[in-house]
Amino acid sequence: MRINGRSLGIAAYLVMLFLPIYWLLNMSFKTNGEIVSSLSFWPHRPTLANYGHIFHDPAWYLGFVHSLSYVLLNTVISVTIALPAAYAFSRFRFLGDKHLFFWLLSNLMAPPAVYAMPFFNFYYSIGLFDTVWAVALAHCLFNVPLAVWILEGFISGVPREIDETAALDGYSFPRFFVKIFLPLIGNGIGVAAFFCFMFSWVEQLLATTLTTVNAKPIAAVMSRVYSAAGMDWGLLAAAGVLTMIPGAIVIWFVRNHIAKGFALGRV
């Protein structure tokens, strides 16, 4: 009886979750004529024209390329520099460590809207404006602290005796870190990379502010359909559907660690 109630509950939630997504999917296979003229639960004259347009127009598919490039750049940078810092926070006390940690986290809490204007000026003046690097670096603002926070949680789960034993066995620190320690926190690294990917992929305010032409993310490309000659709903829906795919793929990879990851390794 209880099992039934629970399955029913999760089923109801998932239906609510997928209703808007289903509607988007439904629209992406319709022509604009059909979308505007009638409300229907499935496309009566299904078409792939919307998807075709995205894959053939460089302005559209390059949007995906730009977005994915700054996301990947940012993920690699964030996790790489966060690793030693997380190790230090987890293993040692040092002058000002607690304050430093909160200061790092405070950047996670800063509203991107506050940074939009100064970032624009700043990246313009150093000549990185409108490159994927500008966005990748700007996203470090919140992704580096996030990666440190998550990794610190996972590293604290590894007993310190392991570090000491390795030192007694004659491992130099770099060799120990790469050969023994990194494999031990593999899950944590995966989860941290997942979160960096996620927050860089979903953030749009900074990404669209820092680019104009050459590094335009897919979000900015999508906003084009609002201006020209009415709304191109079908195209917008198709682009929306495509942006869900990279996310779905990365979740699939971390599905077994995702719950612990969202608890930032602290369960």
Binding site: P84, F94, L95, N107, P111
Partner: protein, 295 residues
Amino acid sequence: MDKPLNNRAWLFVLPVLVFVLFSSLLPVMTVVNYSVQDTMGQNNFFWNGIAWFQNLLDPSTDIGGRFANALVRNLLFSFVVLALELPLGIAVAICIPRHGWKVGASLVAIALPLLIPWNVVGTIWQIFARADIGLLGAALNGLGIPYNDTQDPTSAWATIVVMDVWHWTGMVALLAYAGLKSIPDAFYQAARIDGAGRWSIFRNIELPKMQKVLVIAVLLRFMESFMIYTEPSVVTGGGPGESTSFLSLDLVKIALGQVDLGNAAAMSLVYNLITLTICYAFFTVMTQLDRRKDV
């Protein structure tokens, strides 16, 4: 708790420090700079003292009233979404299957909205909620409920709140699920022997075990809802009128729309300070809970 003192650890932290300073302190200094100066155009800036801040914090001025309204609106929004998402997230977490392939499938499905770019979340709901071509809008109107999210402030608010619940309940659910998973089966067996009902299992076993992750959930949800920008800007653009102009929407309008640097900078700093203060309180609670568990 008996971590060795080692100041060479600073070397490990150095790269992070450089990166975050580079991308946070420098821009913030620009904002501070603008917040105490005024301009006559042509890059001529002069010292303006604390006048921008005085204006901003005085609700009887134009900008002050606008800021106060946006602040109240945003606090109300954060409160409403937290009040909806926490119980719903916990309920969903309890309903997640415990064995078999369904576990992975449910987790992936629940996490999916979190990985959708925020402007696309806005787009999904913009399409879904429209009265003419959207399922939700058309269905509500069909049932005789007057609904139009671009004309009517109540509809606009409802749409934004439901969208946020749709978008973020998954995160609360995943956190709560992580807490539930850490409860050993023995606890449930003991409860069954004691004849505990469903509610008392929840009240006495599950809720205390979830406490820590729920604090994280509240912190993350508060932060994110307090700086919400992209989704409402796509769906309502802050309208109709000013009814869904939350703090970030208003700030971007002032900073990038009207290029009113002084007001925008002062607003940025005060906004940032409010966020920081509230988060510091949460953070203190969190570390306290951490410590209690360690002892």
